[in-house]
């Protein structure tokens, strides 16, 4: 029996957040290779870039997925917007393809409703990867609590799933 992993496209998604960033690496359409949250301290953008570079060197992905924070109506902070730009700049050096999706587009794709919640999207993603992700699904956020850092993993996973659903779109060489 041959168990060899054939050559497949490796897609990598990063979702920067207040604590650091969440990431997911996927091979083909079904195999999650790595997923997690990287927490950074001090100069968050510099530290994030160091960790992003390390991951990039280890996985050598074909495509990098990021949230489109430059769209009209995006409510991400200036630090996150700057980090996104810096990551895109870094990918140019390595001739890595970058694909961008806005939060609204993601929800429209995955939930069929632009007003769906992140929790609904996370639950949908957890159902799609029953071996890997359900154990990392955070409890439903209460209005008085801040977002669980594990939600970044689901945001990143949503990006790679959306990429496979609509990969003809929006891919550009970095």
């Amino acid at each position: 029996m041959n168990h060899k992993t054939p050559k497949q496209h490796r897609i990598w998604a990063i979702t920067p957040s207040t604590r650091g960033f969440g990431f997911v690496v996927m091979e083909g359409q079904k195999t999650l290779v790595d997923w997690g949250v990287k927490v950074v301290k001090g100069n968050k953008n510099v530290q994030s870039l160091v960790k992003v570079e390390k991951l990039m060197e280890f996985y050598w992905p074909d495509v990098l997925m990021l949230q489109d924070v430059a769209t009209k109506g995006s409510r991400r902070g200036p630090r996150i917007k700057s980090l996104n730009r810096q990551i895109i700049k870094m990918t140019r050096k390595r001739k890595l393809k970058v694909a961008l999706f806005s939060g609204k587009q993601l929800r429209r794709f995955l939930l069929g409703n632009a007003n769906g919640t992140k929790q609904e999207m996370a639950e949908m993603i957890a159902g799609r990867f029953p071996e890997e992700l359900p154990s990392r699904l955070p409890p439903k956020r209460r209005p008085w609590t801040s977002e669980d850092s594990r939600m970044d993993i689901f945001d990143a996973a949503a990006l790679v799933v959306a990429f496979h659903m609509r990969k003809k779109w929006m891919v550009r060489t970095g």
Partner: protein
């Protein structure tokens, strides 16, 4: 162009089973303070694990070694295919049943890799 497989998929399978590096180290029988670090080194493929450790990983993750170290396996397989190709073209063998069988084996080994590189 699709990517070549990673040298090691240990981290993927550990995370799939929701195990920590320290827990895997304990299962491997690694003792001492830096036991998690040794598992980390294997996962990053900074060092090649010994045969006993590779088999232990197979037992823990219930996946064959060739899948856990897919990149390394592919590299080794490619090298074997190249050597098999050399043996296929060897002409100093006397014709016999054994030689025919050998040629079949070498041809199969040589074509196996070239077939897989198109997948």
């Amino acid at each position: 162009m699709p990517s070549a497989p990673l040298p090691s998929y240990l981290r993927t399978h550990r995370k799939r089973l929701a195990l920590s590096q320290a827990e895997v180290a304990f299962l491997l029988g690694i003792h001492g303070e830096s036991k998690g670090a040794k598992v980390c080194r294997d996962e990053r493929f900074v060092r090649e694990p010994s045969l006993a450790t590779a088999l232990a990983y197979e037992a823990i993750y219930q996946r064959p070694v060739s899948e856990l170290f897919a990149g390394l396996y592919q590299e080794v397989e490619q090298e074997i295919a190249e050597r098999a190709k050399v043996l296929t073209y060897r002409k100093d063998w006397k014709p016999s049943r054994q030689t025919t069988r050998k040629r079949q084996v070498f041809a199969a080994l040589a074509t196996r890799q070239s077939k897989q590189s198109f997948t």
